[in-house]
């Protein structure tokens, strides 16, 4: 039915089956939009955030999702600047994932703030000392860059490229894509870092506060490192997942190996940096604020297990697995390691947002607990559904995996040869 919109040489399921696939996600999207709508219309009292838990599920998920979306800029950097040509196989998918992650995060932020219509105030009266200003500027610019990078993927659709204007525009834009990749890397460096800086500068929250270099606390650099480390892992994970769901070979195995190696290396460096930073924080920074570090971990349920989990279980161990060629060559080790790396970064974001707010500063304050309301969960589900839908449409109608066609031909060739041998 829609075959003329689907590229030649690749197989996609029938339109009916595709409809069946998108139906539950569309339902989830509408439910989530209703939840978000309630928050916008009735106010943020619909959430379980309060004056002590000013940030909740949404901010934690925003940070996590933006860290995952770092795969877009990092793959672009590796491909267009460092010329790792094998990554051509996943760059389109990475751009879509990045776009989905960032646009979803921005959408949730619009619901999260009390007065979304005043969002332009940050641009008009920026406070250049605030990390949040930096985040706002960078993320807005980067979202624009991602949207521009997404355009060629759309315009290469089989039907759309028949229009000469679109074809030529895509061709010319692709010639300058390295400029956008460079700008994207620059912007990503700063906003991933500033997201870390958001918490590192909070002198009033000694759990999060860190010393650093010049105006940038150590969390600035740690967040950049962890985002760069988790980006390739997330790309690996999603590519594997899409291969599983679509029952197709989409990339050559060596692409997975490259992504795993890069991710493992950066994760190892990050784990080392984080360990050093944690030691400095435990022994110097925190006590100087009058808060011995052991205090933080005396509050149930956040014991020292969370620190060990974040740095060792979900940091060091996946790094080691991803760096060991024999282990990462096997999917049974590779995919869980990538998933653990992603979980580790998510845990780090959780610790910096939720745990920071849960711990009391004033001694006559209690430890606070928080669980998101259904409206908050619903809004998050809307973003997930939106992501799945955009990706599904892109996978069906655009060429997200250029190697798919070659791999299909090679698979057939191998089959034919084996048949001939059998005779």
């Amino acid at each position: 039915m829609d075959k003329e919109f689907i590229a030649r040489g690749v197989e996609r399921c029938g339109a009916g089956r595709f409809l069946l696939w998108i139906l539950p996600w569309t339902a989830m999207l509408f439910f989530g939009l209703y939840a978000a709508g309630l928050c916008l219309v009735k106010g943020l009292n619909q959430t379980n955030m309060d004056n002590r838990f000013a940030f909740g599920l949404w901010i934690f998920l925003d940070l996590t999702v933006i860290a995952f979306g770092a795969g877009a800029f990092f793959t672009g950097f590796l491909l267009y600047i460092l010329k790792v040509h094998e990554l051509r196989a996943v760059i389109n998918s990475a751009v879509v994932i990045g776009l989905v992650c960032y646009s979803g995060a921005v959408a949730v932020l619009m619901v999260d703030v009390g007065q979304p219509l005043r969002a332009w105030f940050t641009f008009w009266y920026p406070n250049v000392h605030s990390m949040l200003t930096e985040v706002t500027f960078c993320i807005t610019c980067y979202l624009t860059v991602l949207a521009i990078e997404y355009l060629p993927i759309v315009l290469k659709n089989r039907k759309l490229r028949e229009i000469p204007r679109f074809l030529v525009f895509e061709h010319e834009l692709h010639k300058l894509i390295y400029v956008l990749a460079g700008v994207g890397t620059f912007l990503s460096f700063f906003h991933q870092g500033s997201l870390g800086g958001l918490y590192g500068v909070l002198r009033g929250r000694p759990f999060a506060f860190r010393e650093g270099l010049f105006i940038w606390p150590s969390t600035f650099f740690l967040f950049i490192l962890s985002a760069a480390a988790v980006g390739p892992s997330f790309i690996l994970l999603t590519t594997w997942l899409v291969e599983k769901l679509s029952q197709k070979r989409l990339v050559r195995r060596n692409v997975f190996q490259i992504l795993a190696r890069v991710s493992g290396l950066l994760l190892a460096v990050y784990t080392l940096a984080k360990s050093i930073d944690t030691l400095v924080w435990i022994n110097r920074t925190s006590p100087e604020s009058g808060f011995p570090a052991a205090e933080y971990y005396s509050w149930k349920p956040f014991g020292t297990w969370i620190l060990i989990a974040e740095i060792v279980v979900f940091g060091l161990i996946p790094a080691l697995i991803l760096l060991t060629p024999r282990l990462r060559a096997r999917t049974a080790w590779l995919v869980p390691a990538a998933a653990m790396a992603c979980a580790g970064v998510a845990l780090n974001r959780f610790v910096m947002t939720v745990q920071t707010l849960a711990l009391p500063t004033l001694s006559f304050d209690p430890f606070l607990s928080y669980f998101p309301s259904w409206q908050e969960i619903g809004t998050f589900l809307a973003v997930v559904a939106y992501g799945v839908l955009v990706y599904s449409f892109s996978f069906r109608y655009f060429k997200l995996f250029p190697e798919e066609r070659e791999l299909r031909i090679e698979a057939r060739q191998a089959e034919l040869e084996s048949e001939l041998v059998e005779r």
Partner: protein, 277 residues
């Protein structure tokens, strides 16, 4: 944001921050504007067609992009760097100087069970061109091409007066909702149209004459190795996953190839064979 706004001061922090922001905006805007201007220039100079072929060629699988001299066995491995436009290729010029390929105006020759007259030049997209005595050229679809096309619903031919360019679209084959274009072997102006029964489809006044105008086309002894390769490619695209090979050696392709294979799609097969990714 701007100097006259509340809270703005000319200090390092403001200058650095806003400087970086405006610089990024400027770079992104410049890139987009440059692209738009170049697009307009390309469209005005009618480069859309050549860009389309460049893009198509780039999207072909590597196995489909092999140099003609790999087909004939002169080179082990080489991917065509010129999108099948050998007219400007130095390697090609060097090789044909060493081993020229002759075109013998004999009677019909059969290659792999199909008539492939050797008195004409063949394009890798399965169009042929035959120089007529009066200086014009006739263009048609070769035998394998017709068997692939089978029974098309319509053949979209350009009107007389239209210009065609090397590796641009010459004519279109329609079947159902699918549409496959066949690449043009030459530059020229269409002065007449024919039909399948007449044995030719287009009569063209060439834009250039001489040996160089046909340098990029296959001829003579190149035809056979090329067709062998084409049959291998066809085999790959016809065989659904998990099935046994269906074109036995020595077998002749049927008049309507895709009709004989239930699982294959006319559009897929023709797209692959006519270099339409």
């Amino acid at each position: 944001m701007l100097p006259w706004n509340y809270g703005f001061e000319w200090n390092t922090a403001h200058v650095t921050f806003l400087g970086a922001f405006y610089a990024v905006l400027a770079i992104v805007a410049t890139t987009v504007v440059r692209t738009l201007l170049r697009t307009r220039r390309d469209l005005r100079t009618h480069r859309a067609e050549s860009i389309r072929w460049q893009s198509d060629f780039h999207d072909l699988p590597p196995a489909d992009r092999v140099c003609r001299h790999v087909l004939t066995g002169e080179i082990q491995r080489r991917e065509c760097p010129n999108a099948f436009d050998c007219r400007a290729c130095e390697t090609h010029a060097r090789l044909i100087a060493q081993h020229p390929v002759a075109v013998e105006p004999q009677a019909e020759d059969e290659t792999l069970g199909m008539p492939f007259p050797l008195d004409r030049y063949y394009h890798r997209g399965h169009a042929w061109v035959h120089p007529e005595p009066d200086g014009s050229l006739t263009i048609g679809l070769d035998e394998l091409g017709w068997r692939l096309a089978g029974a098309p619903d319509a053949i979209g031919l350009p009107k007389p007066g239209a210009a065609i360019h090397v590796n641009g679209p010459a004519f279109h084959l329609h079947r159902g909702r699918a549409d496959v274009r066949v690449l043009s072997p030459v530059d020229g102006e269409v002065i007449g149209t024919g039909s399948r029964e007449q044995g030719w489809l287009l009569r063209v006044k060439p834009a250039a004459t001489g040996e160089r105008a046909f340098r990029h086309l296959l001829r003579g002894a190149e035809i056979r190795p090329w067709l062998v390769r084409e049959m291998e490619r066809l085999q790959l695209v016809l065989t659904p996953a998990g099935a046994a090979p269906t074109l036995a050696d020595g077998g002749v392709p049927m008049p309507d190839i895709t009709a004989g294979y239930a699982d294959t799609d006319w559009d897929d097969v023709c797209g692959e064979m006519f270099l339409c990714p």
